[in-house]
């Protein structure tokens, strides 16, 4: 797709890692164990992925203008510490890889006040053509922004928790 996206682009943030998403553990995210339920970590991380997409120009306007969508193909979460209702969350996001249609992101979720690592999430997100609902190359403006983020992130060390294969032998 080469057409210009029909809405205004936000100012690009290209810090390494990105620190552009904050959130709070909602009461309805807490389960009978008295902590944030596993599924809502995924929802919170998905919102951090949404912040990444918005930063490269593919936020809600991208869908509402019927230009395109982004779909998650795969996600891997490590649950490192419990989070309680009302806990403030800060996310650090690193772009690990990208190609013409996909990004491989790594998020870390921290308790924003106590600063401990609560969870990590690796995720593959793919660009989708609005009409066909099938994979399509990134729009030109988004691809350019993605390259600027990549330039800032490509020399970051690879996170120790990235690339895990699950098993009883894994630590």
């Amino acid at each position: 797709m080469s057409a210009t996206l029909p809405y205004e682009m936000p100012e690009l943030v290209a810090t390494a890692p990105l620190d552009i998403h904050h959130s709070t553990v909602r009461p309805e995210w807490v389960d009978w164990n008295g902590h944030m339920n596993v599924a809502f970590y995924v929802l919170a991380f998905d919102q951090a992925s949404g912040a990444f997409m918005r930063n490269i120009g593919l936020g809600r306007d991208y869908v509402d203008s019927r230009s395109g969508m982004t779909f998650v193909l795969e996600t891997h979460v490590t649950y490192d510490r419990e989070m309680r209702e009302g806990a403030p969350m800060r996310f650090a996001t690193q772009l690990l890889a990208r190609d013409a249609k996909r990004v491989h992101l790594y998020h870390e979720m921290f308790h924003a006040d106590e600063r401990y690592l609560a969870a990590t999430n690796e995720v593959i997100v793919m660009n989708i053509d609005y009409a066909s609902r099938r994979a399509a190359p990134w729009p030109r403006q988004a691809a350019e922004r993605l390259e600027r983020v990549w330039e800032a992130h490509k020399h970051l060390p690879r996170p120790a928790k990235a690339g895990r294969i699950m098993g009883l032998g894994s630590k």
């Binding site: 995924v42 979460v77 593959i124 690339g163």
Partner: protein
Amino acid sequence: MIDLDLGAPLDRHRATVLKDWIDWNGHMNVGYYVVAFDKATDVLCEQFGCSWEYTRDKIGMTFVLEAHVTYERELREGDPLRVTTQILDHDAKRVHYMHMMYHAIDGYLAATNELMLINIDYVTRRSAPWPEWAMPRIEKMAAAHARLPRPKQAGRLIGIKKN
């Protein structure tokens, strides 16, 4: 405690995609696939005798340590779900298992979820061996499930080079 179900895979969980689970892309949001999968984990824990009453009676809890989801097909509001569960491995404190989510009528695979679950002591909130009633149940289920082929989505490494 309920009678142990040694069907392989465990095939007891049914659900429906709720309106609240739909996002602005018009399909079930990635987080709510995990909401649905986590209900299937409750069904599995019920087999072990470590479900809601286990926590209500302040005996113990089960925590997920790690989760991997593959999103295979979109699901829409009202779609009926069937989730099956296969135990892949276990030890004194943990169970490694895989859920497969199917569209219950059309039959297609919609998503998979590989998980590592650990038993937790209620008081210390730290890991502890499975209670004595749970261990033989886990072992019997694991033996029944050992005959199943290993799902190809198990043990995946995330990346964008391999597809």
